[in-house]
Symmetry: C2
Subunit: 994 residues, 2 copies
């Protein structure tokens, strides 16, 4: 029996927004709304758009209330005055804010404009996300959030057909892949390397085909168009309030008459653009940052321009010009039809567009690292976001229960948020929103747990967001309970650190058995927090291992202080000594006190590591750009000898503290049975002028790196991940798509590292996994470096207008983070796995860590999994969230290995979701395109001659195969790297309540 | 039989604009559209408006196409989104331009907004005219032009109820009178002397009653409201695109939430304003220069502000605040109702509001003279405008035949045009438009004459606009005809000067008889014209007297050069000699060479006269402000002795040339039988740096005056005209309405002189009549001074942003003009008339001079009047123009004397229009309010307790009497200073064609 996909709007009556305006089955004009194009002449697609940054120089609300609310209203109003006019609406965070303020009449008008194709949604995500510093899970979520809202209030005609990423500073292959998986027909952007831009213009390859994945074939291919010259209107044709362009005057009695002259000027522009594209179509954006504040002004002039082209009929090389209002979707359709008709082959790209340089000296690689606290906060909040979506779904809450956090994270993906390229005041507002959302999420989780467990009194779960700086009022007690929730769909062990009072502690598991713990000192240099706030720093950290936490489940531990007096922590200098456990340890050089080697996974590899820094060039680095002093051809040593001290020598974990400067330190941590070594670094305040303690306090910008040098011979080759999914081959001073010229020796070789960077030779592999996005490179054979933190003394003139120097309590901020370093034989890592599989496992456990809740209540059921079985190690429950009013779930399953990464785990894998959940019965599942909005059977992508589906019809990547699936069949097969998205019709059951 | 007034829209099917949208008898919401006011609380009338200067920093078209077109469209659009919203549209020059660009749907929407009172016309004139430098005829015309257009396209609901003169730099009593006569209920403005403003605020007399005329009683009284503080929105409540005010944020979840705080801030503002007005109503303007470019933004915030007042209910002294969208008309109605209910007496004003000072040192008296060429061009063009309206009406042309000139002159009345306070580039554009209009008018006149005269071949009448600088290609010939047209409705004689070639000339009148002529040299210092252009200067000027030109008629003169050799002009130095004719002459002082006495009208009066100048203070004078160096307590002598030379000694006219400097000269001219002495002055280039010839070329601003000192003892009392109509008493260092503080000894005593300034003692009177508006004063007993020309070295910081220094051919411009000086016994002037009557006669003959046309054709009828009889000397045919398609005329008759000016001529006078015109038969005449738009029977003014009609019901000033008139009764009685306006139903007859 086939279960036809039910429109969301009908299914989810309890969604946050009432939808009284939507025709159940509206007729969408689709491509029929496109103005006719010609085969012989030149089609000029005028695309009106406003680029409304979701925060940058102002906060989201400041922009919205000062500008965007009027832009959208104005455009909606003036679209209606001439049915020929078109506009694309992009940022759904703003559209959502706007929609809330409108009356029913306006809402109906908007729906009518959408249905008739006069208003088109492009991108449609909550924000226009960055592509360098984002994680694919967050990207997927923020598209889903935006598109779901649009579907709820506007209906299916609003579904975007194109990715519109016109401002992000470089472009990731994973973004292309995700857009294609969402069913998008095209991907538009503008920022590519200046050398590549020149080449593409000359070779007419500004339109191209991008293969977004090395694994997914058809599912990830997407037509891609590079805008001619950013996204503004052509010079003198902006017309908006602050443009002061000459208005088009059609009255030839006026001294200001300029109609024909203006048509000719526009024709010259068209001529320049038309020479760079492979078909007879060009796209001309009419808009810009916060533009269209006077929609009437722009539309009236465009109307007159179009009328002028009809009247004066200018030509280019004997060809007529067909000037039309258009949209990116209409442009795509016109290009595709021309390609099919003329049998044109598009250029094919298989790599990505990083790093972006807009000139010889200006490589936008600084923002890979800028504002590392923001980049970490986003990961931390995403961790909670996933936990909260899972728990509220399990608790039967409706869609949107943790909307504040979802929205704050949607905003945080924005290309001036996660990038760190916003003003500091705006960063603070992002953080405020996220923390507000996290607090709401904690409450919702608490409530859901109460419901799931049928707790007689409402549980009051809480969390300590500042436990990484040992601030936690919940654990500032002699007795408390910790509920550790594991968001992975498989059992997982995890070392957990709890800030505690000094003394002797007894920790018991649900069986009442005492477990091993280890007490250590809190990290140093936190005095600036206590000096400036009333926050209390707990003096000790208690380590314990949460072993085999239940898949999608929890375990409760009880903490009790048994004695006020603890064992004093001994600090011993480290010489040649080997620190660690019998099968995993590190060695330090007796002279330099630096790391000398790492032994792990049955292998000892010579590895030295140190913190260093770059000095910024004069007029060099800023929030966007990384430009070290060209007179210093490498990173700078701190100069003084490092001090290296063993600070924690127990049975679970051993810690060595290394100090380069008081503001540049790290703890090297070896766990008893983890297959990585943790480098827990802390950097800052850089260039503080308020304490002589922190020297090197000149005013020159500094960008601190951690540099790992191994014995491997790698010849400049290294690998970085693309948004946390597939790995991409990198080679020093080389680009696959254009001739590289070595003008920026360091920055030109920097790439975004979202979760992992590695070097390898034929046998061995050395990988560093990060806890946030960082810039990284390999500038010498066997070497890996990652940029941790940066303070810039000057603005880099890309608009933000502030030197990058986030302060807290009047000092440059201090940043703490971790590298998880692993190594081994590439083909045969620990436990019969390849190193790739090992790294995937670590990455996932670090990305979705068990979340620690505190509770005073004594839970009756102290441990359980919400699954009846754990998922295989190569299958990830990427998404589990409520999709309706308790009878619908959004489920995404993902194969987390690439082809050929592991002989076993890279195989296709099938999971059966029947009886998977303990408390949820799945009746059926309909497969959707990635965003969960468009049922696969409604997802009709344009066919492109070069991207036709070439997968085996029986493969799980085959569209035919997917469509042939019976919705009641809950056995799902995944190919490597495949994500499959389902909306499940469910019943919540009482199974595990007590 | 009563003839009901027929709506214009029905009557004039051939008017320039088709009017398919107007309901024949629309229902006008009128005051019913006003939002309710409360009696107990404070009513705050928010009045949205945009102040759109008809040229200033940019030309009219530049403003229109860059800003105004969008403002009007935006407002129209967003008015429709909320029926509570209101807006007033003011400048009809712009509305007309905008209307032309709209489609029928928009036009219909506008009419609906007008009919429902959501869009209200305020003022409605073509421009917001200046009040200091304008002539009442031009003011009347420009209101008529604007209101006629509005009536044609919008219908009767568009008729404005208020004068809205919020920017002009001081206010004339005549303006109040004219507005009242148009049927306006109120007059709003903002610029009054800073001392008076302070006093009025303190005394709560910012609302007042103004008696606009000393003669007209009820007809001229008008409620007047002074805006609290100019016309902008309150600080932080502008909201438009370039205001950057905090938007009102009503979402209390937002970090930007400020709703209540913003309501409180606005309440503080209301509290300050409410203390200055006599009723419980205050008017708050929301707008400003070129504001409302984003109407949506402003309206949305005002909506929220109003909603906020309802929600938070702030109070002032226990009173509730009723914040409403409103209009000036609704404000007026609310004030009036409150006054009636509470029996409040308003302050009564009988004087005017000149000069305007916004600070101790900044008296806006410079613009009374600034750009004297513009001020003269306007008068010159008005002269032609009246001629062309008359002739085209007589020729049966439809309304609007000379629309270009009408519109250009309508624009020229604008308070940054005739004032000379615009940028020089904008001045050039005003002149260009006027000259374009004049050329069209000449063509239309030519055509009309052909039609009236039934000429077998079209006549080709032409004019020489530059004959005052002896440029005239038409008279650069040995033979030509001159047609002199007299636009007065009475016979008039006039001395005419024609630039000609040198030689001996024979001039014959229509009877073929040779008339007396006199040849003289062209004025000097015109070399800069020939040096810079190809224009040819004719070397001689031929004087002749056109004697008793037919009333509203013409006479043709034939010119023939009979010999190439003329009589050389002798130049003789003048000593004590008496120059002139037996009963009228001037004497010069043998030592100083200056004027010593004038003998005229049977009286010899000691009069010295000289050109002098003021030096500007540092940071002193500019286009607006007159501020001479305070260290020099009087005007400065040129220093060198004047040279005084007799240059023309004939039978018609005698001329003496006086030279102070090469750039400061004059010709004193005595005519054989004129009752004035002409002072033909020429000033400039001031401060030219390009010729050593013109010394005193420092960079200090100079303002040149002509100073007349008489023997009269006048004690600081003098009289100036108000816009060319009634005379107003002035006294040095005195103001009737507030305590004068002497901070600006000269400027503080300057007043606008439109046509006349005089001093008198108990017996004698000395008057100077001007050919344009000038600033003038009497700073010493018996003295009169007039400012002729000014060049300022600095901008005076009132917005124009340019130092006043108009250049032509790279030198400061040269200005030529005339003073007509007369004197006599006050009570018994020439011909049994008082001096007042003599002056009225001269003023009228100079204002509407006979117009000289050139023609090559030989007209069959060389002389005729278009009237069967001339009008009495105290009756002026103020307006004669076609009002429809050849079957309707607009006629205005005016009594040109004030009460008590002349024992005979100041009496009521009756004229019979039956058979008045030779070629036109008047069937009936319906009386209208002054602008010719509203039939008197439809003109319902609000009644005010203090201005109820107190005239004798049988008087021609009585409304009852006027309404009782039978339209077929063509006998019209006029009281002193009364203007009566009629629309006449006519038939054009063939009477005088030949």
């Amino acid at each position: 029996m086939w279960l036809k996909a039910i429109p969301l709007v009908a299914l989810y009556a309890s969604a946050v927004f009432a939808k009284p305006f939507i025709d159940e089955e509206p007729h969408c004009a689709g491509f029929d709304a496109c103005h006719p194009v010609v085969q012989d002449g030149i089609n000029v697609h005028l695309v009106p758009h406003s680029h409304d940054d979701v925060g940058w120089l102002q906060t989201v609300d400041q922009y919205f209330y000062q500008k965007v609310q009027y832009i959208i209203s104005n455009v909606i109003t003036y679209l209606q005055e001439n049915p020929d006019r078109r506009f694309i609406q992009v940022e759904t965070a703003y559209f959502h804010q706007w929609w809330k303020l409108q009356n029913n009449a306006t809402k109906s008008q908007v729906i009518e404009l959408i249905n008739t194709g006069r208003l088109e949604i492009a991108n449609g995500a909550w924000s226009m996300n960055d592509e360098a510093a984002v994680h694919y899970q967050s990207t997927t979520d923020q598209y889903t959030l935006g598109l779901r809202f649009l579907e709820d209030v506007l209906g299916k005609c609003a579904r975007p057909k194109v990715g519109w990423q016109i401002d992000p500073f470089g472009h990731s292959r994973e973004q292309a892949s995700l857009l294609s998986q969402m069913g998008m027909d095209a991907f538009f952007f503008s920022r590519i390397d200046y050398r590549e831009m020149k080449k593409r213009r000359a070779e007419k390859t500004m339109d191209l085909l991008w293969r977004g994945s090395a694994n997914l074939g058809y599912d990830s291919n997407i037509f891609t168009s590079v805008l001619y010259d950013h996204y503004n209107a052509p010079p003198q044709f902006c017309f908006d309030v602050d443009c002061n362009d000459p208005p088009i005057v059609t009255d030839n009695q006026s001294a200001e008459y300029n109609w024909e002259e203006r048509v000719q000027l526009f024709t010259s522009y068209i001529e320049a653009v038309a020479g760079c594209y492979p078909t007879n179509n060009i796209l001309v954006t009419i808009g810009g940052d916060m533009k269209w504040r006077n929609a009437e002004k722009v539309f009236v002039n465009l109307d007159r321009l179009i009328e002028g082209f009809k009247k004066f009929k200018p030509q280019i090389s004997g060809k007529n010009i067909n000037l039309i209002y258009s949209t990116p979707a209409c442009y795509t359709k016109a290009v595709r039809d021309y390609i099919v008709a003329k049998e044109i082959k598009l250029d094919v790209v298989t790599e990505d567009f990083f790093p972006y340089a807009d000139g010889e000296k200006t490589v936008w690689a600084g923002y890979f690292t800028s504002r590392p606290t923001s980049k970490r906060l986003e990961r931390f909040a995403n961790n909670l976001h996933q936990v909260s979506k899972q728990v509220t779904a399990l608790g039967g809450k409706p869609y949107g229960a943790v909307a504040k956090l979802s929205r704050a994270l949607g905003v945080m993906q924005h290309h001036d948020a996660i990038t760190g390229t916003e003003k500091t005041a705006v960063e603070k507002d992002y953080h405020r929103s996220i923390v507000t959302g996290m607090n709401e999420a904690i409450e919702e989780i608490s409530d859901s747990f109460s419901s799931i467990l049928g707790a007689p009194n409402p549980l009051n779960l809480t969390s300590c967001f500042l436990s990484n700086v040992s601030v936690c009022s919940e654990s500032d007690s002699d007795q408390f309970n910790v509920l550790v929730y594991n968001p992975l769909a498989r059992n997982a062990s995890h070392y957990i650190q709890i800030p505690v009072r000094d003394g002797t502690w007894k920790v018991t598991d649900p069986t009442g058995e005492e477990i091993a713990t280890q007490l250590t000192d809190t990290v140093r240099n936190l005095d600036y927090i206590t000096n400036n706030t009333k926050q209390k720093i707990l003096p000790k950290v208690l380590f314990f291992k949460a072993e085999y936490l239940p898949a999608l489940g929890y375990r409760v531990y009880s903490f009790q202080r048994t004695d006020n007096v603890g064992v004093p922590v001994q600090e011993d200098p480290v010489s040649e000594d080997q620190i660690g456990f019998k099968d995993r340890y590190v060695n330090f050089n007796a002279t330099t006190k630096l790391l000398k080697s790492i032994t792990l996974n049955g292998l000892t590899l010579g590895v030295t590591q140190k913190l260093m820094f770059y000095r910024s060039a004069k007029d060099g680095s800023g929030a966007y750009i990384f430009r070290p002093d060209p007179d210093v051809s490498h990173a700078v040593e701190f100069g003084d000898p490092v001090t290296t001290v063993l600070v924690n020598d127990g049975d679970l974990v051993k810690e060595v503290r290394q100090v380069w400067r008081d503001w540049a330190t790290q703890v090297v941590r070896v766990y008893k049975d983890e297959d990585f070594i943790e480098f827990d670094w802390m950097v800052g305040p850089i260039n503080s002028t308020s304490a002589t303690l922190y020297n090197l306090e000149d005013t020159i910008g500094k960008e601190v790196i951690s540099q790992y040098s191994t014995d491997l011979t790698t010849n400049g080759v290294f690998y970085t991940d693309s948004n946390g999914r597939e790995m991409i081959y990198r080679k020093k001073n080389y680009r696959p798509t254009y001739n590289y010229t070595d003008k920026a020796p360091q920055a030109g070789n920097y790439y975004p590292v979202n979760t992992k960077i590695l070097v390898k030779d034929e046998t061995y592999e050395f990988a560093v996994l990060t806890d946030r996005s960082e810039g990284g490179s390999s500038l010498a054979s066997g070497e890996v470096e990652l940029m941790l933190h940066r303070v810039c003394s000057n603005d880099d003139n890309r608009g933000v207008g502030e030197a990058l120097n986030e302060t807290e309590y009047n000092k440059p901020v201090v940043v703490r983070g971790s590298h998880f370093v692993t190594l081994g034989k590439s083909a045969n890592g620990n436990g019969g796995r390849t190193m790739a599989a090992v790294e995937r496992d670590i990455a996932q456990r670090k990305h979705l860590q068990p979340w620690v809740f505190y509770t005073a209540e004594d839970l009756a059921v102290k441990e359980q999994s919400f699954l009846n079985k754990e998922l295989p190690p190569n299958v990830h429950l990427l998404t589990l969230e409520s999709w309706g009013g308790g009878n619908s779930l959004l489920i995404r399953l993902e194969h987390i290995l690439e082809n050929d990464e592991d002989p076993n785990l890279s195989r296709e894998v099938t999971v059966d979701l029947k009886d998977l959940f303990k408390t949820i019965k799945i009746n059926s599942m309909v497969e959707y395109a990635l965003a969960g909005i468009t049922p696969l059977e409604e997802s009709e992508k344009l066919s492109w001659p070069q991207v036709e589906d070439d997968t085996d019809p029986s493969s799980p990547l085959s569209r035919a195969n997917k469509l042939a699936r019976d919705p009641s069949d809950l056995k799902i097969t995944l190919a490597p790297m495949q994500i499959r998205t389902f909306v499940a019709d469910i019943e919540i059951q009482d199974g595990i309540r007590n």
